[in-house]
Symmetry: C2
Subunit: 256 residues, 2 copies
Amino acid sequence: MEDRGLILVTNDDGIEAPGLKALIDVVRDFGDVVVVAPEQSQSGMSHAITIKQPLRVTVMEESPSRKIFSVNGTPVDCVKLALNQLLDRKPDLLVSGINHGSNASVSVVYSGTMGAAIEGGINKIRSIGFSLLDYSRHADFTAAKIYSKRIIDQVMLNGLDRGICLNVNIPVGSMDEINGVKICRQTDGHWQEEYDKRKDPFNREYYWLTGYFNNYEPEAKDTDEWALRNNYVSIVPISTDYTSFKQLDALKSWKI
Amino acid sequence: MEDRGLILVTNDDGIEAPGLKALIDVVRDFGDVVVVAPEQSQSGMSHAITIKQPLRVTVMEESPSRKIFSVNGTPVDCVKLALNQLLDRKPDLLVSGINHGSNASVSVVYSGTMGAAIEGGINKIRSIGFSLLDYSRHADFTAAKIYSKRIIDQVMLNGLDRGICLNVNIPVGSMDEINGVKICRQTDGHWQEEYDKRKDPFNREYYWLTGYFNNYEPEAKDTDEWALRNNYVSIVPISTDYTSFKQLDALKSWKI
C-alpha cells in the first residue's frame, strides 16, 4: 500500500457512531483508510490524553485497503497511537467526525472531535473536523457527505498552512436547503452553565451539567454561528499556536 | 464579603497538591479566596468537561475570607461549578496552579491547569495559569511564589484584553538564579510519542504513553522554551479565539 494516499479517520462519538461510518464512506476514494476511534463516546473530552491508565487496541477489521481499530481512550489518544504504533507511514490527511452535534464557536475548545483534528495539526498533518448539527443517532448524513467530500478535495488540492486544521460544521437539511459554504471566524460566545442540582437517595447533593450557548455577536456575518443559522456550511481555520500576538505587544510594556 | 476582591483558585494536580497551597498563599492579599479544585490529579485532562457523570462537591473549609471545595471532576468542571453554583459574585481573578511541571509550548493544549485558565478567559475573567518546571512533590516554590505575586500585581493593575489568559512557566532555581521575566510566544513543537508496549499476564498487549518534546525552533529567542532554558520566567498570552486569520484569507479563494 506504499504508493496510495493514506487517510486516518477518527471521531469522538465512538467506533459504532453512524457519523464515523459516513466519513469512512467519504474518504475511501482518497486512498487507503485506517480508522482508529474510541471504543466509547468521548464527547467533551477536548484534547485530553490518558496518562494514568494503559491503553488497549482492538483490531475490528483488517484488509489491504482498510483497517479499523478501536481504543479504550480519548480521540487524541487514538491519533497518537495511530501515528506512533498503528500506521506504517505518515497519513496524507486526518479527518475526524462526522460529529453528531455542533462544534461551532467556542465548542471547538471542549470538542473531542476537534481535539483529534488539532492533534493532527500539531503533527503537521492536514486535518479536518466535521460536525453535523443533529444529535440524533438517525441523523441524515447525505448532504454532510457531499460537502465533506468537496472540502477534502480542496484541502488535498490547496493544502493547509503548517499547524492549521479546519473546523467544519454542517447545518441540518437537504442539498436544496443548504445555501453553500462560508469561510468564517470563531464566534465570540460562551456556554452559560445551569447545573441541575439533585439529591441522591442518601440525601447527598450532586450536579448534572446543563446549559445554553450565549452568542456575544449574533449579528456578525463573518462568524460560524451566523453562517449555520443562515443554512451555510461553516469552515473556520484553527491555529495550533494559541499565542495572542496583539496582547503580546501590550504585555511588553509591563514592569515586572 | 461584598466589597473585597474575589479570587478563584484551581489546579489540575488536585486539592492536596503543594503547588495549590503555594498559590493560595500568594493570592490571599488580593481579596477573599475561594478554592475549587479537583479531588484527584487531572493532569493531561486539557479542557475536558464531565457530561455523563454527575459531579459532587465536598466542602473542605469555610470561613468568612476563605472557602475550599473539592470536586470529583476536571479543572474546567471546577471553574464552571464555581461560576454557576459556588461563588456569590463574579471573581476578579482566576489563578490555576501552581502546576508541578512545565506547560510551555504545545503543552498548553494538553494541560488541565491551562484548561481552567482558558475557561476563565472564555468567561471574560482575568485568568492566569502558573507552572513550575519541577514535577517533585517536594518542589521549592519560593521563587515561583514571588514571581507569581509580581505577575498578578501587573494583571490587576493593567488588566488583560477580553478573552485572553496568561500561560506562566517558572524555571527551577532561587531568586538569584532566575534572570527575570520574558514575554514570549508559544514555541512551535510537538510531543513525539514512544508508546511502551507490554503484555499483561493474560498475554494481551497494552500501551503506556511516554515520549519526549521535540522543539522545531530551539534557536528562536522570542519563544517560551528558549526563555525557560535560559532561566527566565516565560509569559505567553493565550487567545481563546483559535481562528487562524492568516489561513482564513487564503481559504476565501477556494472554490467549494
